[in-house]
């Protein structure tokens, strides 16, 4: 894809806005439409776009596969962790009311935290799948070039 100059310039210009929009959707899931899942997908779409245009190698530098794998687990653990914290604070599993003195604030914090967990897991799963898919594609093309 190295020859598509216009595509590269435009994409470079677009990606910050896509990532920013993802963070906005993540942070405002409680006020407007959206939430962790949508934000995660949009965020990963931004990085996947980067990987499609600039190549897998540079995407790997931005999002190293090992880090992505770790984040898959971190997101889920964050979600479940909120549940255990509420248990430690005296409530039942995922009973956000115990996270703060005022019950509604507790619910608010809880929702923000678990949406963050959802977002992290979804984004990193999508990125990881994309990386694995394109990795195999690149290997195949390499092999074909080698046999010619």
């Amino acid at each position: 894809m190295n020859e598509h100059l216009i595509l590269r310039v435009v994409i470079k210009f677009l990606i910050p806005f896509i990532l920013l929009f993802a963070l906005y959707v993540q942070a405002h899931g409680d006020y407007g439409p959206g939430g962790g899942f949508q934000a995660g997908v949009i965020f990963s779409a931004g990085l996947i776009l980067y990987g499609m245009v600039f190549g897998l190698q540079r995407l790997r530098k931005v999002a190293p596969p090992k880090l992505v794998l770790t984040f898959i687990a971190i997101g889920l653990l964050l979600y479940a962790g909120v549940g255990f914290v509420t248990m430690l604070l005296g409530g039942t599993f995922l009973d956000y009311g115990y996270l703060a003195d005022i019950s509604t604030h507790g619910h608010h914090y809880g929702i923000i935290l678990i949406e963050l967990g959802v977002g992290i897991t979804v984004a990193s799963v999508m990125i990881a799948i994309f990386q694995t898919f394109t990795e195999r594609t690149e290997e195949n093309t390499d092999r074909n070039v080698g046999t010619r």
Binding site: V25, G29, D30, Y31, G32, P33, G34, G35, G36, F37, Q38, V41, I42, S44, A45, I48, M52, L69, I72, A73, G75, L76, Y79, A80, G83, F93, L94, Y96, S103, T104, H105, H107, H108, G110, I111, I114, E115, G117, V118, T121, V122, S124, V125, M126, A128, I129, F130, T132, F133, T134, E135, R136, T137, E139, N140
Partner: protein, 168 residues
């Protein structure tokens, strides 16, 4: 809706897999538009991002692996068509029994929905009721969904990465 039907028909008829992938992306985008018209913005969001965006990209990545022509035998699959037609006919048969679209007397509108809408501002204090339902009233479900995504991701990675190692 007409565009939806046309796109669906085109997906079935077209033999070039590249065109099919792009058409299914178009289909998802149209669905997202439909959801927006129906005021289900959260769902439309997901449909546009996942259906039209990510899954199209993943399918394209797969096509890069397997090639874009359909080499299968083109014979008429009468059995499956009959089953699909039967299932469709049963669904359409069931439609008149459902409450009229948007009718305020529909079971979902008289039972849980008013409760969610009335209690969310007091009990949870956030304006987006959809998020409140997903992340609070049904937080166990959502935890399960995240676990499903987690497991699916791990599974895909294991399958694809494992095969590669064997080949080397």
């Amino acid at each position: 809706m007409l565009f939806l039907l046309l796109t669906a028909a085109a997906i079935v008829w077209v033999r070039n897999l590249f065109a099919v992938v792009i058409l299914s992306g178009v289909y998802s985008l149209l669905m997202a538009g439909t959801f927006t018209i129906l005021d289900a913005v959260d769902v439309a969001f997901t449909e546009a991002a996942v259906g039209a965006g990510i899954s199209t990209v993943l399918l394209l990545a797969t096509l890069a692996l397997v090639g874009q022509e359909d080499h299968g035998q083109h014979r008429r699959a009468l059995g499956p068509i009959a089953i699909v037609a039967l299932a469709g006919a049963m669904l359409i048969y069931a439609v008149p029994d459902m409450p009229r679209f948007g009718s305020p007397e529909a079971p979902i509108h008289v039972h849980v929905a008013p409760r969610y809408i009335e209690e969310t501002p007091n009990a949870i204090g956030i304006p987006n009721v959809v998020t409140a339902v997903l992340a609070d009233y049904r937080s166990f479900d959502t935890l399960g969904e995240v676990t499903v995504i987690f497991t699916a991701g791990i599974g895909v990675l294991l399958l694809l990465a494992g095969k590669r190692r064997k080949r080397k």
